[in-house]
Structures are given as C-alpha cells and as structure tokens.
C-alpha cells in the first residue's frame, strides 16, 4: 500500500490517478497512523513552500521522517521534493526535512519565472528511480524555486542554471517535475517507484 499524503494544500487527484492506472494500491491520507501502516509514502505538492507547514500542523512531520529513516520508499514530488531539503528562500525560517543538504532558491532574473513546461533531463548512472529513462527525456515542470545540484542529484535540468531534477539516497527519492503529468516517461518513473 502506497500512502499519498494529503495535507490540504493541493489537488492530489492526478497523482492518485497515475498510481491507479499503474495498478498500485494507494490510499490518500492525512492520518499519521496510516503512514506507519503504509509500505511506501508519497508527498506530492505544488505551490508555496509555506504550504508545507500544514504537515507540521497535521502532526505528519515525525511519522514522515520516521518512515524515511526507517527505510520505507519515500517519494517527494515538486514541493514535496523541496521539503526534503533544509529549507527554501520562499519561506525563510521554515525548516524542511533536511534529509538532503542545501536550500531551494529562486531562479535567476535572466529567465522568466515560473518555469513552466517540458524540459529535458540529464540522467546520472545508477539511479533506481530513473532506471531505464533515456537521456534528454522530457518531463513537465511548474515551479518558481529550485533545489541545488548536490551529489545526491540523479538528474538535472537547465533553466537559467542547472538545478536538481531528481535526488535519491537509499530509500528516499525526490523529483522536481511532475511524473504524473509527464506522459509515458513519467509513468515509467512512478512504476520504478512502485517496484523499488
């Protein structure tokens, strides 16, 4: 069972629909106990970094961190990936999970913001989540802040600068793009997550 975390901040339909399509068993939940019972955890999200405060209000931070540190496959999507970092310029003073080091920053003024549309991936070797994904595959983005290219970055995209498209360490994965909106490529990535 995959638990999709509903912290009231965004529309989760498309993420659930994609897992349904792949035949995965999913539950959409805001209950800490349901996270403990799940085999895998997905934190979706889109919008402002401060929306993640709802995770704290709902008492979900600790169960999420426990799940991640306890070896449960954990996928953060878009804002959910940014939450895995230490914080974001978008909401200074609000702590992320700190599983990956670094802070999410605004795009440089040389490009239009938000970054919306299909951009290509430069994929690293030895990634579980992006296994079988060809170089230069296009994925769908919509965001104004980006995560830094750290050693755990398994893919990067370019928009005014290089940023982390995906991160991965052991059982914890994050993607800045929306796999649920990225056609066949996106479905392959979610399928990889189901099979981790």
């Amino acid at each position: 069972m995959i638990a999709i975390v509903d912290y009231g901040a965004c529309n989760l339909n498309s993420v659930k629909k994609a897992f349904d399509y792949l035949g995965a068993k999913v539950v959409v939940t805001d209950q800490p106990a349901a996270l403990g019972a799940a085999d895998k955890i997905v934190v979706p999200g889109v919008g402002h970094f401060s929306a993640l405060q709802a995770l704290d209000r709902a008492g979900l931070r600790e169960p999420l961190l426990q799940g991640a540190s306890g070896g449960k496959p954990f996928l953060g999507i878009c804002l959910g990936m940014q939450w895995l970092f230490e914080g974001s310029e978008e909401e200074i003073g609000m702590a992320g999970a700190g599983i990956f080091s670094g802070t999410c920053r605004r795009f440089p003024a040389t490009v239009k913001s938000p970054h919306v549309g299909w951009n290509s991936l430069a994929v690293q070797e030895n990634t579980k989540l992006l296994r079988g994904i060809p170089q230069e595959s296009h994925v769908y983005y919509t965001h104004s802040f980006h995560a830094p290219v750290i050693p755990a970055a398994t893919a990067t995209s370019e928009y005014g600068l290089q940023f982390a498209a995906a991160v991965e360490r052991d059982n914890v994965f994050g993607v800045q793009f929306h796999p649920e909106k990225s056609g066949e490529i996106g479905l392959s990535i979610l399928k990889n997550f189901c099979e981790v």
Partner: protein
C-alpha cells in the same frame, strides 16, 4: 532545455467535441476522451477542453466528460468555459483537471483569480483573454472582449494581462479574435506585446494554419506555447509532423514520437 509547447484544444458542446467556424456550422468531431488520447499519443504537450456553450444544463455533462478524459490522460489538462466562481473551479478540479481557464468571470471579478490560486495554486489558473485590434485607436492597441467575444470591455489587453498576472494567474491564454478561425497565422505583435509585459507563460491562440505560423509565433511572437483546435482535429496539420518542422527550424520541442 525548456521546450515550446503545442496545445490541442477540444471545443465541447453537450459532451461531444465539435468543430465549426467561429462557433457556427458545428459538426461532431468525436468523443472527448478518445480525441484527447489521440492528440496526446500524437505528441500534444497539453490538452485543453473548452465548453463553448457553457449553459447550466450542460455542466453535469461537461464534468462527466472531464472525468472520462482525465482518467487515462497523463499530460497537463486544462478545462475552461462557464467557470464563474470558486465552486465551479473546485468541481472541475475534482473531476480531474489540472488547470482551469477563466475569462469573462475574471474580467468582472479579478479577485476570483486570487481566490482560485489561493486554494489550488497559481499554476492551476489560466486567464484566457480574447483580444482584437481597437479600431478606435491609432496606436494599434488591443481591446479585451468577453462573453465569447460578443461584449466589448474597453479594456486594454496588455494592461489586463499584467493585472491578471499580478492577481495570481499562472498563465495567459491569449486569443486573437482578428485571426481566430482564419488559419492566416497567429497575431505575433499581440502575442509579443503581452509576452514582454508579463513574466508568466503566454499561450498564443487564434490563426494557426501551418507549421510556418507556429515557427513565427515562437520566434517572432515570443510565445511559450501555441494552441490550435481545428487544424489538429481534421488532420490538416499532424502534431508529430508539425514538431519535426519546428525542430528543423530550430524551435526546441518535446520529441514525443
């Protein structure tokens, strides 16, 4: 590299995709879910479903069509037509849309943009603007029209686009009424003026007739995306072929086929 998006628009009436010239002589062009899937398979980067009649009796039928289309569509999916308040938008999101497009309701109540964006995020709010050259002005400015292009507002299109962006719109869907249905090319000047005035993406619409028109609106019009309906439905332009021509002209596109 960020690519230029090709968006297929499906005009809907009574749960079916229809196609006419300027809303007249409507003819049936098929089932929305099937049409959307076919376009996506063919390389469309995004699908827009537009309820062109948007009568209250049609709402339930429209929501059923949105639900059926969303079920197996895994590219961004926008729904427009008849969304007048937050609750209408919520029902469309609940049926599976990723973004909503609002037009007349945003002009009469710009705060609606912020209300929808506040709940569903700016990325989910597309403000559609129908504009045409203002014949009363010599400076070549463009005026905003609402109610399916029937009602003049006296508002300047560039100013309105700016305000919509400030209110929290995530994208602008800009239709040239002068070019709509003519297949004579996008209005590149209109698109460029709006694209330079706002930092959010601008989707050009109205006038698509050939691959050359798409190349022009991306290179000269600085559009982030371009939308077309009729030329894709009846196979005048095949999206996969269009993308090859765009790529050969140096326009970055997602290579879906």
């Amino acid at each position: 590299m960020l690519t230029k998006r090709i968006i297929a628009c499906l005009d809907m009436d009574g749960g079916r995709v229809v196609k006419g010239v300027r809303f007249k002589n409507l003819r049936d062009a098929g089932d929305p879910a099937e049409c959307a899937m076919a376009h996506a398979r063919n390389g469309a980067d995004e699908i827009v479903l537009l309820d062109i009649t948007a009568t209250s009796g049609n709402r339930r039928t429209m929501l059923d069509a949105v639900r059926a289309t969303a079920r197996s569509l895994f590219v961004p999916f926008t729904v427009g037509g008849g969304i007048r308040q937050l609750e209408d938008a919520a029902a469309v999101f609940d049926a599976g849309a990723d973004k909503i497009a609002i037009n007349s309701a945003a002009v009469s109540d710009p705060a609606l943009i912020g209300r929808i964006a506040g709940r569903f995020g700016s990325q989910a709010v597309v403000v559609a603007i129908d504009a045409r050259k203002d014949a009363r002005k010599v400076d070549g400015s463009f005026e905003v029209f609402v109610a399916g292009g029937r009602v003049s507002t006296g508002r300047d299109a560039i100013e309105w686009a700016r305000q919509a962006a400030d209110c929290g719109a995530g994208e602008i869907l800009l239709t040239s009424m002068d070019r709509d249905g003519t297949q004579s090319g996008f209005d590149c000047r209109l698109v460029r003026e709006v694209a330079e005035a706002v930092s959010i993406p601008v989707i050009a619409s109205g006038g698509a007739g050939s691959a050359r028109h798409f190349i022009d609106v991306f290179q000269d019009g600085r559009a982030d995306a371009a939308l077309a309906a009729s030329i894709f439905h009846f196979g005048i332009e095949n999206i996969a072929e269009l993308k090859r021509e765009l790529r050969d002209a140096g326009v970055p596109v997602r290579w879906a086929c």
